[in-house]
C-alpha cells in the first residue's frame, strides 16, 4: 500500500476528484495547506505595510491505494492538476504498512 500525497492548486480539487472517481479511486482525504517553492507569492499591503507573502494557498490530497494503482493515480493527477505554470505542485509517494476500516475492522488492502 502506498500513500500518494499531492499538493495542488485549490481550483483543481473538484476536477481531480472527478477524474479519480472515473478511474475507480473514491477514497481520499483533503487538507487545506499553504506552501512555498518556486512560485512567487503576491505582495499584500495593509494600511501601507507591505507583506511579501511567500506562503500560497494550496490543497493537499492524500490517497492511499494498493501498489498496483500508484502509477495510474499519479498519471491522473499529473494530467488534471497541470497548468504548466509554476505552482502546479508536487506529488510524494510513501509506504503505508497497514490500513484499517474502523467500521468493519477490515485490515490491509481490504480496508481500502
Amino acid at each position: 500500500m502506498k500513500k500518494i500525497e499531492a499538493i495542488i492548486r485549490p481550483g483543481k480539487l473538484d476536477s481531480l476528484k472527478d477524474a479519480l472517481g472515473a478511474h475507480g479511486v473514491n477514497g481520499l482525504t483533503v487538507t487545506q495547506v499553504i506552501g512555498c517553492g518556486k512560485q512567487k507569492g503576491q505582495t499584500q499591503v495593509y494600511r501601507g505595510v507591505e507583506y511579501n507573502v511567500h506562503l500560497i494557498p494550496k490543497v493537499k490530497v492524500e490517497i492511499v491505494v494498493m501498489d498496483q494503482y500508484v502509477e495510474e493515480v499519479i498519471q491522473v493527477i499529473t494530467k488534471v492538476a497541470r497548468t504548466g505554470e509554476i505552482g502546479d505542485g508536487k506529488i510524494f509517494v510513501s509506504a503505508v504498512e497497514n490500513a484499517y476500516t474502523i467500521r468493519t475492522g477490515a485490515t490491509g488492502e481490504n480496508a481500502l
Partner: protein, 409 residues
Amino acid sequence: MDTGDTSFIMICTALVFLMTPGLALFYGGMVRKKNVLSTLMHSWIVIGLMSLQWILVGYTLAFGPDIHGLIGGLNWLGLNGVGIDPNPDYAATIPAIVFMAFQMMFAVITPALISGSFAERMRFPAFIAFVLLWATFVYDPLAHWVWGVGGFLRTLGALDFAGGNVVHISSGYSGLIVALVLGKRKGLGKESMAPHHIPMTVLGAGLLWFGWFGFNAGSALGASGLAGMAFVNTNTAAAAAAVAWAVVERLHRGKSTMLGAASGAVAGLVAITPGAGFVTPLSSIFIGLVGGIVCYLAISIMKAKFGYDDALDAFGCHGIGGTWGALATGIFATKTINSAGADGLFYGNASLLGIQALSVLITVVFAVVATFIILKVIGLVMKLRVSEEQEAIGLNLSLHGEEAYPDFI
C-alpha cells in the same frame, strides 16, 4: 419647515445610507472567499463616487428645472442654490438640502446593486468608469423622468413610490447586460461557486430590510400617516416573500434554506418598492408572496435555462422583482391609501396598469441600450474583464493586493 418631518427624513437618509454597506455584506457573503473584498469594494467605492457625483452634477440633472421632460437643467450644479430653505416642488416641510441628501442615497445604492450581476470578474478601473457613466447617463435622466417635476413618465401618470423603475428595474436589467457582455465566470457549473459566508449575507439582508424602512417610508417625505402605511407595507411584503421563498424552495427542493429566506425578503422589498405608498397592507401580502415566488423561479430555473451568469442575481431579484412590483402597483394601487396616487386594475381602473407597463418598457429599453453603449465605449479605452489568471487567483489579491482573512494560523 416642520422639525418632525425634517427629523424623519434625515434619519431615513441615514437608514438608506446604511443599505449600501448592508448590500456590500449581503453580496460579499455570497461570493467565494477569494473575491469577497472585490465585492465589498464595489459597494464601498460607489458610496464615495456617487456621493460626489450627486452633489456635483447628479442632483441637478435629476431634479433641476425641467428641460423638455427629459433632464434637469444645470442650475444647481455643485449644489448651487440648494440650501436650508425647502423646495416646495418636492417637499415643502423639509430643507432642500435634506431632500437632496435623501435622494443622494438612492443614487448611491443603485449602481451598487448592479454590481451583483457581474461579481467576481470585472476589472476595477472599468467598474469605476462604468459607475460614473451609468449614473450620469442612465440613473440621472431616469430619476428625472419618473420623479422630476415635468419628467415625462411622471407626467404620463406612472406611479413609482420609492424607486421601482428608477432603482430596481434600471439596475436589474443593466446588470443583466453587463453580465452578458462580460461573459460567464470561468468554471461556472464545474467548480463550486457556493457562497463563502452565509451569516454575512444574513447580516446584510437584515441591514437592507432595516434601511428599506427609510427608503420606502421616507419616500413619503414626511412623518405622516402615509409614511406609516408605506412602512407597514414594506415590512409585510418582505415578510410574505421570505415565507413564500422558503415554502417554494421546500416544495421544489425539499428544504427551506437560510439563504433562500434572506433572498426572499429582499425580493419582497424590491417588489413593494414602487407600490409601498399606494397599496393596502393586505395587497402587500399578495405582492410579497408573488414577488418571492417569481424571483425564486427566475433565479433557480430561468437563469439555469438561459445560462447567463447573473452571479448574485441582481437581475433575478431587482429586474424581475421590480418589474412585478411596477405592474402590481398598476393592479393594487388605491386612492384610499394615497389620494395623490391613482386607482389600479383591481379598483376598476385598467388604464393604470397600461401606463405602468409602458413605463417599465421604456425603462427597460433605455437601461438596456444605454448600458450596452456605455460598455462598448469603455471597451474602446480599456479592458472590462480580468485575465484568466487574475480570476483564478481571486480578485482580492489580484486587483486589490489584499486577502480577506489573512491570519491563516
